[in-house]
């Protein structure tokens, strides 16, 4: 009963294609599939499309960057979640666990508080995420314990709480008319402001982090065994753990810097991917990236179109993620050692 990865991968690709088509065509200004095909073909071949300039602009300028950003952010969070779950040998952890998200959040609200430009805010979010994980790592390693993983996770929770208090303080001090709405909006997660200039600073770190993880895919399989077993199989677990955490934090921070805090994607998607293609990281990482892109595209389309005003992404992912987590917890009890 060997399981081929192909059916699972095909489902993930199907979700991505569905996500792409829906994201391009649905919205306040509906676009037909024919118009979409026409514009994209024209773009590729260099001809002028024979649709109205308004339709072309909706597809290329308005929805295009947002669609690409959603796919990239979804892929980044899913890949990071896959890596963290393997590394911590626990299917219930997610990229938020090491303080990456809360560090990035603090960086961003400080940037908004200081009335910095968009790029500087993104930069601060990015640095905040990396610093938070760095701090968690240094503190976690300094505490000598027999279970370093547990210590690391708990340190992440504690440092995350402190950073959350910092976010609260900055919000308390912020100008309630100009700054506070921007902070709130950003903390809830949104792709509404995504534009073409966001794509490169998003794509670069996501590509680098994912490439590192893909290169280490076999070692990551071994790293998901208990520490001493992995070492006795010839894996230098210490340095490798640093490399995996750094790569996963890079992709997380880049996506938080672009889209704010979008929780749960990094928990839900790796789990769904594992049920599609199994736990081998060689299959799991690409599947999670594709499925994560499709998943966030679907959610972002829902966020744009479900109500009169846009619903923040973080709220939708939480509404889906929380019951999923509880279900996972309940069904896990039997097999989780």
């Amino acid at each position: 009963m060997t399981r081929s990865a192909l059916p699972g991968l095909a489902i993930a690709i199907g979700v991505l294609i569905a996500g792409l088509l829906l994201a391009f065509t649905i919205g306040r200004y509906p676009v037909s599939l024919a118009e979409l095909g026409n514009v994209l073909l024209a773009k590729i071949s260099g001809h002028r499309p024979d649709v109205s300039p308004a339709v072309e602009s909706v597809i290329l300028q308005v929805r295009g960057p947002r669609v690409l950003a959603a796919a990239l952010v979804g892929a980044a969070l899913a890949v990071a979640g896959t890596a963290f779950q393997g590394l911590f040998r626990n299917p219930l952890v997610s990229p938020d666990i090491l303080g990456a998200s809360s560090g990035a959040a603090l960086g961003a609200v400080v940037g908004i508080f200081l009335s910095l430009g968009v790029l500087a805010i993104q930069g601060l979010a990015f640095v905040g995420g990396l610093l938070a994980v760095g701090a968690v790592y240094v503190i976690g390693s300094a505490v000598r314990a027999r279970d370093p993983i547990l210590v690391l996770v708990l340190t992440g929770v504690v440092v995350g709480a402190l950073l959350g208090a910092g976010v609260g303080l900055v919000k308390y001090l912020a100008d309630p008319y100009n700054q506070l709405p921007a902070m709130t909006f950003w903390l809830l997660g949104s792709l509404a402001a995504a534009n073409a200039s966001d794509l490169l600073p998003l794509f670069g770190p996501v590509a680098i982090g994912s490439a590192v993880l893909v290169a280490l895919r076999w070692r990551m399989n071994v790293m998901s065994l208990p520490e001493e077993e992995a070492r006795s199989l010839g894996v230098a677990t210490g340095p490798l753990r640093v490399a995996i955490v750094a790569a996963a934090t890079l992709t997380t921070s880049a996506s938080v810097a672009t889209a704010g805090i979008i929780g749960w994607v990094g928990l839900v998607v790796p789990h769904l991917s594992r049920s599609l293609v199994g736990p081998d990281f060689a299959r799991l990482l690409p599947t999670a990236a594709i499925l994560g892109g499709g998943y966030l595209l679907l959610i972002d389309t829902l966020a744009r179109t479900a109500a009169e005003v846009e619903i923040p992404l973080g709220i939708l992912t939480a509404v889906i993620g929380t019951p999923f987590f509880i279900w996972l917890l309940a069904s896990m009890q039997r097999t989780w050692s």
Partner: protein, 255 residues
Amino acid sequence: MNIEGRDLTIGYPDQTVGRGLDVALSTGEVLALLGPNGGGKTTLLKTLLGLLKPKAGEVRLGDKPLDEYSVRERARVIAYVPQVHIGTFAFTVETVVLMGRTAHGNLFSRPTTHDRAVAHSVLERFGISALANRPYTMISGGERQLVLLARALAQEPRFIVLDEPTASLDFGNQGKVMNEIRALAKSGHGVLFTTHDPNHALRAADRAYLLRDGVRIADGPAATVLNREQLKALYQASIDQLIDRDSGAVAFLPG
């Protein structure tokens, strides 16, 4: 080739478990490590594997100190069979065995055709080829023990160290694992295993090493060292000795 611990003080940063321990294991021999719970068996095992640094003394592998080997070099000489566990993720049996090949590849490599051939030949040796594509989480405890043995053998090591290989097995599988341990020594491996059952040591080991409260009580040929007086002293319990009238085989009963 030898693994040798000289005048070892073993333990954890905040706790010393044993002192003054000398222990040696050669290729082609089976050494059983016996002693009551908390006596230091597992700590000694992990120290000899290089998973735990000795607090004093030295572990040597061949002609070099063990800590001069890289993690990867070490894994190509010594394999570790931990106590059977369920595992977090449902890797296939084949993937689990292929993980034994990790030390033979570099940081970025995937298993090669040769690695797969090795994995299949060890699966065949243990008669579990049919399990290759089953999830490791869905097979029985006895099958898991054999899979972990197969993974250790896939490392192509000189030494195999097993932590209570019979602990979670039924009677038949215990015998099967004992036989495999004998066969491993016959094929030139040095085998070290811990056990709670002196009968297993008698059955499978050339030598027995008795450890109580971190102190070596005896170390010698299993048939000599494992007698009623030694075992009484080791476990501080009363023990009956049975002798088979036909074969002369000896067994012990606790209580």
